[in-house]
Amino acid sequence: MVDYIQIAWQGLVSGFAYALIGLALVMVYKTARILNFAAGTMAGISGFLAHWWAAENDMPFAIAIIFAMIMTAVGTYVIERLTVRPLIKLGDFLPIVIMTLGVEELLANVSLLWWGGSAQRYRVPGDIDRINWLIGDFRLNAWHVVVAGTTFVTLSIVGYVINQTELGLGMKAFAEDQDAAKLMGVKESTVSIWTWVLSALVGGVTGIVYAPVLFLQQDYMNIIFIKGFVAAILGGFLSLSGGVAGGLLLGELEAFTIKWAPREFAAALPVVIVFIVLLIRPHGLFTREKGHERV
């Protein structure tokens, strides 16, 4: 029994990461119909920045994180303005996706040149990622508790922003109908940029709290990015809560598959899930099918 709880908890810990990245992807997709391929690398860079300031430049941990988040916000702002914004008026979304691919290639190489390709250990204050509590046979890592806490706080903040602020209202308006929102005087460029920044911050938090869980390697967030995407597909890609639920579900599925299925299959699980979901419920597990397309 404890075995199962252990696996379920492991699944939940991975699931939090998928849920957060899934949420970040859905957010931008829902409001702007854009997939940001640089999202994984951007989150990874946030993690690296925090690590760099804290471990190599001896900055207090909390300040390093705040700096990293500020840099993430500023960087995202600049990237959105310079690369994505000029393409939006074309009205075609494929060039934007290609653009984010270019940004991904650029950023991945910047971080590779800066930090090199080898794995590094991420040091957190008091080395709490090394503390393990044993509750009966159940092993609980202290940092995993921090991860869970951070996830809940982040989700609550995002929930607050979306439901209680003007930005959230604008995002919802855009998600519903871009043209109508523009006509109602919602400023597209403002909503778009803050959605990007919010999404990058969620990604950044994920990058920072998961750096001690994974190895801090140049492309360590890419795998999370892919699984975040699978989470978003599970959730139908247009539902924020669906993305979060999809992430948690994927984490559990994965944890139990690794336990029982051959390794080849466990490796292919995300693609298998993508194919099955697209085949059976392309609109996701948790949302109902949308109406018709106008011609």
Binding site: E105, N222, V271, L278, G291
Partner: protein, 617 residues
């Protein structure tokens, strides 16, 4: 229709439309370039690795042109086909001790089938999703390769055997370069043939508007899957070459990075042209040769180049050259004061004319449309509420009603563009209820769109040719090898397209891209595309909206003439009641989703209910 005998020239000749030929100028240039590298292959052995990887990248680029450049399916999982070719090659040479004669066909075949599977999600999701789904395939693909030790040797990889062809062994080096060039020639030949044929045209149409492609009767689902299969098969050939170049197959070489780089290279080079595949490969493979520091910042430079090119030249390096060439040409033309199209002998076409005109004309009048209990509901709103009518063959019928009366929805129900429509639709005895859009189109339902649904990027002639697709008879296999009857059929199609354009007064604009045309002409292009498909009944959705009345009337008369010529019926939605009354024999009036009147124009315009609901007092 300009069938008058006194007109000496066909429309084709007058417009100087170049016809598809077996070999074009581009072919000669391509052969020459490949021949040059072939002959020089032995002289630069120090660079032979770079030359090889350039050729391989060009082949992969060409295969991506099919998937991405033409069909518009952004795939980031293309490396799995390359990896498949690589590991098949390693296994065939080592385990079976067979040579290229087995490797190449098997790599193509197996990757073709894998393409059918990978292409599947493209049916269910939009292009943004697809990019990520294929990205996931690439990401997970490499992990599966790592774990699948029997086939790939796991992380440590697998050696590749001798380079053999039917038992004859070749040394690597220059010979490998020559073999690679021959495979590249083959790949380019196939892709180039698709670009010139109906499949390429259909892919282009699919890229630029899926809805319209369906309405033209193109089998969109099959086309999407097919592009992945063909692109995958060709990339598999590149994989075989990769295996023999590196002589050792390691899974980690074929990860997400390679997938992204091949796409970047093609976009940098130019995704619509074979030359773009070559330029992209040269850019990506030769830039690092320039200096050490370039090598170090390689990825940075590619990323930066892509960002800048996407902003200033979306069609890549080739696009930039073409733009420059266009500038020079138009400058020269303005000096000469004349615009020369290429000189093509079309004398062998003229005999086709009479044969063709008779073949388009149909003896039996068509367009007998029965609509029984049609209904469409959006939520609780009944947009079309139990509408029934019957239109006799060959009739021109008007469909009028106020905004929101359900006219366009009724059209969409007939053509299959709206989900959840009930009722029965029978055209000339064939029931189309419940059939997919393109099947209905092939049965003979042609349509135009209220808000113009044209294929940007395609020219006027190509729109007409798209309409003609269903009457062009050659297989895709014949097309890929450019067999003689492909060219013959293409010539016929060009001929009919030109005559139709001439009839609709569009001939002089044949090579203009539709997005550059004024609105009135765009509307005509839409009608031409529908007419070209030789429909049994043509559904025109506000063809005259936004046009001056005189122009609208003229267009309607031309449509009517042509419809009579091909013995088709016409059903028009139009707000201009006088115009409808002028051209139609009969008018059906819809109000709030129900038929409120049905009769001759005189009867309908005098009907009290119609006046109250629509015409106003």
């Amino acid at each position: 229709m300009s069938t008058d005998n006194q007109q000496a020239q066909t429309a084709l000749e007058r417009a100087k439309i170049p016809l598809p030929r077996f070999l074009k100028k581009n072919h000669y240039l391509g052969f020459l370039g490949i021949l040059l590298v072939y002959l020089l292959a032995g002289t630069y052995s120090a660079y032979s690795l770079t030359i090889m990887s350039t050729i391989i990248f060009a082949i992969i680029g060409a295969s991506l042109i099919v998937v991405f450049g033409m069909a518009g399916q952004l795939t980031l999982g293309h490396t799995i086909f390359v990896a498949g070719g690589v590991f098949l090659s390693a296994n065939i040479t080592m385990e079976w001790s067979r040579g290229l004669e087995t490797e190449l066909p098997l790599a193509f075949g197996v990757m073709f089938i894998l393409g059918l599977i990978v292409g599947f999600p493209s049916l269910r999701v939009n292009e943004l999703y697809l990019a990520l789904a294929t990205f996931a395939v690439a990401f997970v693909g490499v992990q599966v390769l790592f774990e699948w030790e029997q086939f790939t040797g796991g992380g440590s990889g697998k050696p590749v055997g001798k380079l053999e062809f039917f038992g004859r062994e070749f040394s690597r080096g220059p010979t490998l370069v020559r073999i690679a060039l021959i495979i590249m020639l083959f790949t380019f030949w196939i892709v180039g043939n698709f670009q010139d044929g109906r499949t390429g045209r259909a892919w282009n149409a699919l890229r630029t508007s899926e809805t319209a492609a369906r309405a033209s009767g193109l089998p969109v689902a099959w086309l999407k899957i097919l592009c992945f299969a063909i692109g995958g098969g060709l990339a598999g050939l590149g994989g075989v070459l990769y295996a023999h170049t590196l002589r050792y197959a390691i899974p980690e070489n074929y990860g997400v990075n390679l997938s992204i780089i091949v796409v970047l290279a093609l976009i940098i080079g130019g995704k619509h042209r074979l030359m773009g595949a070559v330029l992209g490969a040269v850019y990506v493979k030769w830039l690092p040769e320039l200096s050490r520091s370039v090598q170090e910042y390689e990825g940075l430079i590619y990323g930066g180049t892509l960002i800048i090119l996407t902003l200033i030249a979306p069609d890549g390096l080739v696009g930039m050259f073409e733009w420059a060439a266009e500038r020079i040409k138009s400058y020269n033309n303005s000096k000469n004061g004349e615009n020369f199209n290429s000189k093509i002998a079309v004398s062998d076409i003229s005999p086709l004319r009479s044969e063709y005109l008779s073949s388009i004309g149909s003896e039996t009048t068509r367009g007998h449309l029965v609509v029984k209990n049609a209904a469409v509901a959006f939520g609780g709103v009944k947009a079309v509420d139990d509408v029934s009518f019957e239109i006799p063959a060959g009739a021109v019928t008007g469909l009028i009603g106020s905004n929101g009366a359900g006219k366009t929805t009724l059209f969409n129900a007939i053509t299959g563009h709206v989900k959840g429509a009930t009722g029965e639709f029978i055209l000339d005895g064939t029931s189309v209820s419940g059939k997919p859009i393109h099947v209905r189109a092939l049965t003979g339902i042609g349509r135009t769109f209220q808000n113009l649904n044209l294929h940007d990027d395609l020219n006027v002639l190509e729109h007409a040719l798209l309409g003609l697709d269903r009457n062009t008879n050659y297989s895709r296999i014949a097309e890929s090898f450019r067999l003689p009857w492909v060219l013959r059929e293409e010539k016929k199609a060009h001929f009919v397209a030109a005559e139709l354009l001439d009839h609709m007064d569009l001939l002089e604009y044949w090579d203009e891209k539709v997005e550059d045309l004024p609105y009135g002409l765009q509307k005509r292009v839409d009608v031409v595309r529908a007419l070209a498909s030789n429909p049994g009944i043509l559904l025109l959705d506000e063809p005259a909206a936004g046009l001056p009345t005189a122009e609208a009337l003229e267009m309607m008369q031309k449509v009517q003439e042509y419809a009579k010529h091909i013995s088709a019926g016409v059903l028009i939605i139009e707000h201009n009641v006088e115009l409808v009354a002028d051209v139609s024999e009969r008018i059906i009036v819809l109000d709030a989703g129900k038929t409120i009147a049905d009769g001759t124009p005189e009867e309908v315009t005098r009907n009290e209910e119609v006046i109250a609901a629509y015409l106003g007092t």
